[in-house]
Amino acid sequence: MSDDAVIVCDNLVKIYKQADLEGIALQGLDLVVDPGEFVAIMGASGSGKSTLLGVLGGLVSPTAGAVSVGGYDLLQLTVQDRTRFRRNQVGFVWQQTARNLVPYLSARENVELPMRFDGRSRRDRRISALRLLDQVGLSGRADHHPAQLSGGEQQRVAIATALANSPSVVFADEPTGELDTDTAAEVVEVLRTVNREEGVTIVVVTHDSELAAGTDRTVLIRDGRTSTEVLRRSAGHGPDGEVIAEEFAVLDRVGRLQLPTEYVDALDLKQRVRLTLDVDRINVWPDGAETERAEAEEWARPGDRWAEDD
């Protein structure tokens, strides 16, 4: 991770209050995203991923912690800063079309809309909009209204719209949630292309493992914290240069990490675990496993045991 990360979350906490009930959506989440990364955020329902997206997008104010996106401290935003942030720093792609596109504007006009808010000239808007639509493969549908576009086309227009003012980060919340597999793949490909060609950092919240597999990094959130990350990078020395995915458990700054659920279940880890430190690793044992091992080692060294009998 580099020091000029585009997204930095440090011990982020978000607590919701509904009448007398409190819900803790984020419980000290840490996250760093570098510029140009294509990151997927996954997690079960209620894990806090949508809340995280809301916080990062400046739509939800965190309860505690620190968060900055594109150099903006999201806890210190004035009203004007927030508008500027949404206009120039971030772009959004939502799952529902109604949240992405204004129904009474054409595709081109939708893409131009953020540029209008930014006060750009008509010529500049038109050129930029057509370029973006071309980039997402819809240059021929520029004058169609959302109702005249398929779901996938609508999402592609939404992506172009999100890129209108050249944001540093694009946030996408389940962009393929309402799409069939093939269409979803098209949309993912568009996102990937945009990430690659424009260098825009993209953060996607998704349940779609196929989409996540296409990203550089997948961050899993569990119980309001980042639990594991899966990094995908090409192996430099492989004969095919195939992408190798490595899964990491995320270690927070105080040294806590979440063990993958399958590991926990496999070893029936409950409550406490034993840790041992080797030269290059930390071993994690179920409670009670040390004694069995010690006994096993003792049986493996008969000389020592026989010596006691003598």
Partner: protein
Amino acid sequence: MRRRLAPGGVGIVVWWRHFRDGGSILSAVVLVIIVVSSSIAIAPRLLQTATAEDLTETIRTATPEQRNIRFHQLTEIGAGAPGRAFSNIEWIGGQLRDGHIPPSVLDLVSEEQWLFDSPQFVVGPYPEQIQVHPGLPSTFFARTTEWRESFRFREQSGIEEHSRLIAGAMPASQDPELWLEGPECPEEVADIEEYEPDEGVQCGVLEISVFQTALSQITADELGLEVGDRVVLRPLPSESGFQQTFDGVGGVRLILELSGIIELDPIEDGFWFGDELLHRPRTFENSDFRFIFGAGLLGGDQYRSFRAAVHGAGLDFSWRYLLDPDLVEGADSEQLAIDVEKIAPPDVDTITLLPELLEEHLAQRRLTLQVWSLIGAVFAVAAAAVVWTLARGDAVRRRATASLMADRGASARQLLLLDAATAVVVTVVGVSLGSGIAWAAFSDTSSRAPVVAAAAFGVGCIAAMTIAGRAATAPNRTRLAVVSGLLLLATAAVIALLRRRDTGVGDAARSGFDLTLTIAPILVIASVAVFGAWAVAPLARGGSRLASRSKGALWLIGLRRLGAQRDALRGPLLAVVMAASLAVLAAVVSTSIAASQDEASMQAVGAEYRVEMTIIDIGLPGQLQESFRELDPDVTFGTVIPFERFLGPSSGFVADLVALDGWAARSVGDAVPVDLVGSWDAPHLPGPGDLVRLTSGGHAVDMDVAGLYESVAGIESTRPAVVVDREALAEATNEAFAAPTMAWFGDDVDRAEVEAMIEDVPAIRLISRRDELAAISGDPLSTWTGRGLLVGALGGVALAFAAAVAAVMTGSPARTRDLSHLTVLGAARQGVVRAAMAELSPLFAMTVALGLIGGVVAARLLGPNLSLDAFSDGRVSSGVVVDAWSLLVISAVLVAALGLALWFVARTAKRLDHAMMLRKGSE
């Protein structure tokens, strides 16, 4: 470096698309604005037209004595040159006109006339000499004076154009007659011109002036004269004009000769000023006596000699200036009222009721302006609330788009400009069309008020729509609490201000718009509406708890939805309450005016029908009285004897004597009538327990005052009135004196029967309470005020309906989705419909209740300041009347209107395509 936010809007193209997307809601907003702005713009024009009509009508329906101006003077004016005997009289009339009648009043005068009456003469037989009878008794009690007939000369300018000679000749100068006068005169002399009495003989030769006159046929018949007959005239002792000359033996004697019979134009002709003395003599008659007071024309030829014959006696001169009602239209009534007060030439009596007529008209105009302005203001505010509600509904519907634009970087100002531009366009179109309709309907009136009013309403709508667009989020309870507190404070302050100032209209509002009175009902109604907004939450919670604990009833789910939607429904609730309050306020004020007019008609007539003799002091024929008793056993008889002299505990006074049957039996409150009762309607008069004495010509009757009353129904008296029991009065004086001249019937009597009974009786008329009510309520200002209140009430109902529809639309997608869920889960259609209606029914019921409260409270608080008695000619001191039936009717109408809105909900629920609804989700 961070760039500044772009200063501009979203662009005309985006705005236009956004505007078109508004669809039916914006159309509804435009429609509301058109209707309301046209009403607001029409109202001042209507008022101007109604004011002009009312002034004309007031002048037209007034009697000649009321509306015209008369100067009166008892004086001597010499005759002019031969052939122009009355030139001096005309000249004085011109001087009075030019010097003392303001131009604004003079512009309304279409005719001038003068007339004079000579003093009254007693008519005696000719050629017998009349002996002087000292101490002629003139008491009405005894009614035993010997003189029965009196006569006066009259001359009127322009009479030759309103009369025709049908027998004989017009009056002309005659030579005097010579008479012998004295106790020792011979009975006959051969040639009186040559006769010289012997010395010592008490006999003289007198030259008696002879004057001719022309009479109407009726007068001649009553006096028993034919053309050529002569009678002797002698001054009536009580005539002040003759007091200086009636000394000693002889005095003034004239011979009157009937020269011709004339036919006069009908008395209804305004030329006569309502004075029929030339048409018929005044006759005072009952079973004991008959007095005849006649008049006849003098003629210009005889004026000089008549003046010489009655030298020293003043003639009763009148100069009349007749107003033409048709010239009144368009006159400035305020300026007229001011100018009329200036008419007061010295040494001359000015007699006119024009100031009172104008004041009555202005009082009505002020009240009309008050009522219209407050109803109009409440109407405009309620309409703005409805516009806000509809705009908010649109904003809620397009919340997703607004949120999207915000996500895309639109600043708050850019979004505000979007809403404001829509608001401006919608409002300008609506107000322009509405004002255009008003102008087209009343293009001949010119006033700034419609433009100002419509513009103010337009500004209010722009503000309401712009704020609604920005307030499409959950309401801020703190803000609501602050607004509620400020509103209550402002309401209390304005009401305290109204209470502190004098009731009625202050000087500042004599001719104009009373801002305080107009704002007050708005604040009161707004306070009630805001209270309702707070009351929604407990109502919703109660409904939700009821729904939670009940089992099995599907419709209770609607109450649960009410709990969930309560915040969103506060806004529409405010608008419905305001509109309903407007309807109730208009209904209550209308009912109050109608009640006061109804009471005034009863006060004026005294019963359902009143029959009265039109000539004062002529009693109802005895046979007619019997017929009346047979028709209605409960008929009441009475009489009014004007200008009687009384002696109170400390001083004397003049009052009308009113004698009524059954007065002692009337409900008189705490007073207990003893023998005779008296009532007073003027200050500084004797009170209960005092004795007063009715005196006339040495005769007296003592009366014990048992009560004081402001007025007596059915008796019109401009002076204090002493009211007594008629039978008791007859017992104390005589039947002739207390003979009834009026009769009152209840509503069980058939009008046609009464009319048939009086058909052939001369000088009698029937007055109906319903006719009187129609006259009171039929003047243009009353009529237009009634119409304005009706429009206000109906407008309130219409606005309530529109606000209810907006309330229905609020949350419509969520409601539709929830009802679709119910359908998918297996709910029957009827159950779904009931659930839909159950959500809004309690809310609408509450708005009707709050509307009743708001309207009644506003009316009650405004009542003392509304001067509602102006619409009942000031006869009754009326306040606001809250009539249960009218409240029931207006409530039923409101419930029907709101029920219609619910019907839309039910209709939608029935037609749900649940699959489509669920697929579309909350869009």
